[in-house]
């Protein structure tokens, strides 16, 4: 562990930007929203900004991405297929622990199953991750219930914790240690671990008045979901409020469903595009020939919450899919973000109707 004086943050960002494509929290000048975004300059990265409204997942899993481009000339039968060139390694700076946990779910899912997703692997390759301990949760946050915050415990090269005058600079890899020595950071004193714990504890303390229902009931919800005991009426109640916008999937750090589409360009080649998708859409599982195995909206909702909370899905991620960031609750037009789903399940347990 080292100490990074706040005055040295620009040096850190410059050093990273020299070798990586730099992503971090930046503030949109018009709306005032904090976004996790590609930084136009190292100085644009704001480690003190609120939690970004979006997740860094777009940097490894873009909203809309060309994964191939090809040109086929039927007359001459000439065919030319190209993959996108390997991108410059990326650095994600100021990643919150919930989002980092989502990234680790992605790693296990895209890289750790029978097949490796080469598109994801190329984005993820040689990546540098600098985490930032959360000191101010949002009202919808509940990472303390899903074992994913407020401080990161794995998956980072560097983990920063704001100690007031300076950041505690914790290294998690050779890359991180290399950065510390390159910047000539002083080792942290013996109080560092205790100071860090105090910051994390203060942050956890801020959850006292929030996520109350989640803290008490999320494990029961996990149980009920896994065993299929959630009542059809509960899914119906949730389904009725679903506006089918897909937002919950798009903002979720661990949602990775995608669509693939070939689209001709005016210049000649055809692009193979990979785009975000959501299992809440009716057309998502449709099949040619009039057959859609998953029709009612309740079923489709059910599918997503199953993915976030069930044991069987957890086996793929080696943890629950939900990372407690609360973003689904912030963007849902129907007010059925995951915390409210937990509440609905709690109600069927504690307020049974005759």
């Amino acid at each position: 562990m080292y100490i990074l004086p706040k005055a040295d943050v620009p040096r850190l960002l410059d050093a990273i930007a020299a070798r990586y494509e730099l992503f971090g929290p930046v503030v949109d000048p018009i709306s005032g929203d904090t976004l996790f975004d590609r930084a136009s300059a190292p100085s644009a990265v704001r480690l003190d900004a609120p939690i970004p409204v979006n997740t860094p997942k777009f940097s490894v899993f873009p909203h809309f991405e060309r994964i191939l481009t090809y040109r086929y000339d039927r007359a001459s039968k000439a065919l030319d297929i190209r993959r996108e060139d390997l991108v410059r390694p990326k650095a994600l700076v100021g990643v919150r622990s919930c989002d980092l946990t989502g990234l680790l779910c992605f790693d296990r899912f895209f890289l750790g199953q029978e097949f490796v997703d080469e598109v994801y692997r190329d984005h993820r390759r040689k990546m540098l991750i600098v985490a930032n301990t959360c000191v101010r949760p949002f009202a919808q946050c509940f990472c303390v219930c899903t074992d994913s915050g407020p401080a990161a415990v794995e998956g980072f090269d560097v983990n920063l914790t704001d100690l007031g005058e300076a950041f505690l600079f914790e290294t998690g890899s050779d890359k991180g240690r290399g950065l510390a020595s390159e910047l000539g950071l002083a080792p942290a004193g013996e109080h560092a671990a205790r100071d860090r714990a105090a910051v994390v504890n203060r942050s956890i303390g801020l959850f006292d008045g929030q996520a109350v229902e989640n803290k008490a009931w999320i494990s029961r919800a996990v149980n009920r979901l896994t065993t299929g005991f959630v009542k059809p009426e509960t899914w119906e109640y949730i389904g009725q409020q679903c506006f089918e916008c897909g937002a919950c999937s798009f903002v979720c750090p661990s949602c990775s469903c995608f669509n693939v589409q070939d689209a001709a360009t005016q210049a000649g080649p055809t692009d193979r595009l990979r785009t975000w998708d959501s299992c809440s859409f009716e057309g998502y599982s449709r099949m040619a020939g009039e057959h859609n195995p998953r029709r009612p909206i309740e079923d489709r909702r059910n599918k997503r919450f199953f993915c976030k909370l069930s044991y069987s899905q957890s086996k793929k991620y080696l943890r629950p899919g939900c990372v407690g960031c609360g973003r689904c609750a912030r963007v849902c037009p129907g007010d059925i973000g995951l915390p409210n789903v937990v509440t609905a399940i709690r109600r069927e347990i504690t307020e049974p109707k005759p």
Partner: protein, 280 residues
Amino acid sequence: MNEPNPAVITTVPTPAVIEEIRPEIEDVRTCYFRFEDPEIEKSFAVRSGQFVMCTVFGAGEFAVSLPWSPEGDRRHLSVRAVGKVTGALARLAPGDKIGIRGPFGNGFPFEAIKGKNIIYVAGGIGIIPLRSSIVHVLLHRPEFGRLILLYGARAPQDLMYRDKIEEWRRTEGFETHITIDRPRPGWTGETGFVHTLIEKAKVPVENTVAFVCGPPIMFNAVIKELSARGLRDDCIISTLERHMKCGIGKCQHCAIGRTLVCTDGPVFTYKQIKTLGEQI
């Protein structure tokens, strides 16, 4: 970081040339193809029951079950033109190129069913994935018991692989029963839905597995008939079709509950299918 499995083409479609196209039935064509790269042509190995992702350049990609058997069979795909991409495939001609990724999926469990009687029950184009299994089993005929094919289609012109079926009819030790839904002028064979053949063919139940493939109504009727005769759910094998975008377990379009048809299937026993928790 993990590296991809080199034996399977996962991301970039590999060019293949259509050598020949044969019309099968209305809207269904069989395309024979070879890989452009002789190395891949040599190394591309499939298991019966798997599927590939086929790119029609300029249109898109679709998942398709393999009708060919890894041994002694020509590489081909039999595809019904139902959507934008399969419709575009239907407009290609010999010499045109397509792209192939794969092979993906588990394949049929031949080791586990050695020594058993096998009943194939197919409806319409449900014969396509079963063709591969039949060719394999006939090549290894002594390893299996009684061999029965029950195949039904709407009308005589809806029967797939007519040459092959003719060949199978003449194959010794292969009991074939072909039916069409309703009597038609000139048709001298069986009539009625395919599940009615189960009774007529006096199919065995002991030490028997059934491969069943076809549209949902036919599938359900056949299962009902087989179960009534006492065939256990884990002795009924089918292959599922789902909308797929990747083939490698990532896009999740083919998820049925926690099961992915692309990597956990597409071959399942009926016992497994029943626990999937969604409509088939």
